[in-house]
């Protein structure tokens, strides 16, 4: 794959700026130097682009003028984007009752950028040792329970279990929220291997599958509360 045949048109400066935006908002870099290093840009160029992002309030600087972080406009657009994901409110009760029944952290995930699953909603578990806050994080579709579900690779039993796949000593169980066209999202439980032994995993898996189809059923209704 030498010399990717420019794929197709694209504005370089914009590409770069977007990379910077993702880098900053993803929390991977904060200072100018880090940003420049990580995106492989000359400092002067990175600075100019960051300033443009800052001007639009897509990023902001730490009060003192030190590092960069997500700006208010990003929060706004994010809130709007998440607001459109009607699955989030729909699944809240389901997640809640899953946590109630299992004590483990429960997630809702949908397809993310690239070949990833994106965790968009969580209800934290009640065990003192629990898996916490992956919201906004992505995991590869290949090799994750949620990913397998989103890809439609679901055994007849209706759920997927994966041990120590994405993270060592962590087991994930996921079930699909089906929708007319395909799969809208995945409900999943994430917790330590030792608590999710095969027998328990099966119990939880069936629970997830049940809750997920309940959500799916409520999907059919569509919104009565129009725009």
């Amino acid at each position: 794959m030498p010399g990717k045949p420019p794929a197709i048109s694209a504005t370089r400066s914009v590409e770069r700026a977007l990379t910077l935006l993702a880098t900053v908002c993803g929390g991977q870099a904060s200072t100018l130097a880090e940003c420049a290093r990580l995106t492989d840009l000359p400092a002067s160029t990175a600075l100019r682009l960051l300033r443009t992002l800052e001007q639009g309030e897509f990023v902001a600087r730490e009060e003192d003028g030190g590092g960069y972080r997500a700006g208010p406009r990003m929060v706004q657009l994010g809130a709007q984007a998440l607001g459109h994901e009607q699955l989030i409110p729909l699944c809240a009760p389901a997640l809640q009752s899953i946590v109630g029944a299992t004590g483990e952290s429960a997630y809702l995930s949908v397809r993310g950028p690239g070949s990833t699953a994106l965790y968009v909603s969580i209800v934290e578990g009640t065990h003192s040792i629990r898996h916490s806050s992956w919201v906004g994080r992505t995991v590869p579709l290949e090799g994750s329970a949620a990913g397998a579900v989103l890809l439609g690779r679901i055994p007849d039993r209706g759920y997927v279990t994966l041990r120590s796949a994405v993270e060592k000593d962590v087991t994930a169980i996921a079930a699909p929220i089906r929708r007319p066209g395909g799969i809208a999202g995945a409900l999943s439980i994430v917790g330590p291997d030792y608590r999710l032994d095969p027998a328990t995993a099966e119990r939880y898996g069936l629970l997830l599958a049940r809750e997920a189809s309940a959500v799916a059923r409520s999907l059919g209704v569509e919104e009565t509360t129009g725009a």
Copy 2:
């Protein structure tokens, strides 16, 4: 305002792309033509920029290839950005109990881009006629109850009431969540004028103020769950 003395440096193409991004994610435009018109760009330029945004999955096209909408990367960055707003989970119980006590929709807002207040969280009211979903929406700081609070213009009684200010026949009541440095956010109630008569408004205002300071108190604790 002839020839705004270029303020300061900024990359034009990036500025334009960001404007497009905001336009699309804000739901103000969907088709290429709309985007071009709204941002005052030649169609060919708008198309090129949108394609760049699309390539980074910041925007996506409706399956059939029609209009543009927020892409998965936007959802991801949004989820991350909102995840950093620790006020959201902290205020959830407060909002809930406000709704329980009043039946009106309750909001959490913080400072948004420009001189705006941004609604980031809501618990919908229980009245059949209620104010619904402003999440992701901004209102000007000047001339809104939440804005006045965020600006620190708060009467001694501890809350602000505004009738038919942002929207006709709609009354808003807001109270500040104070933090060492200043004001972290505002809790507010939004509902129809006729239900929020002066006496009721006062009752609700005091309730809001009480809940808000309770949240503020829990802010002092800071996170034990470090990064």
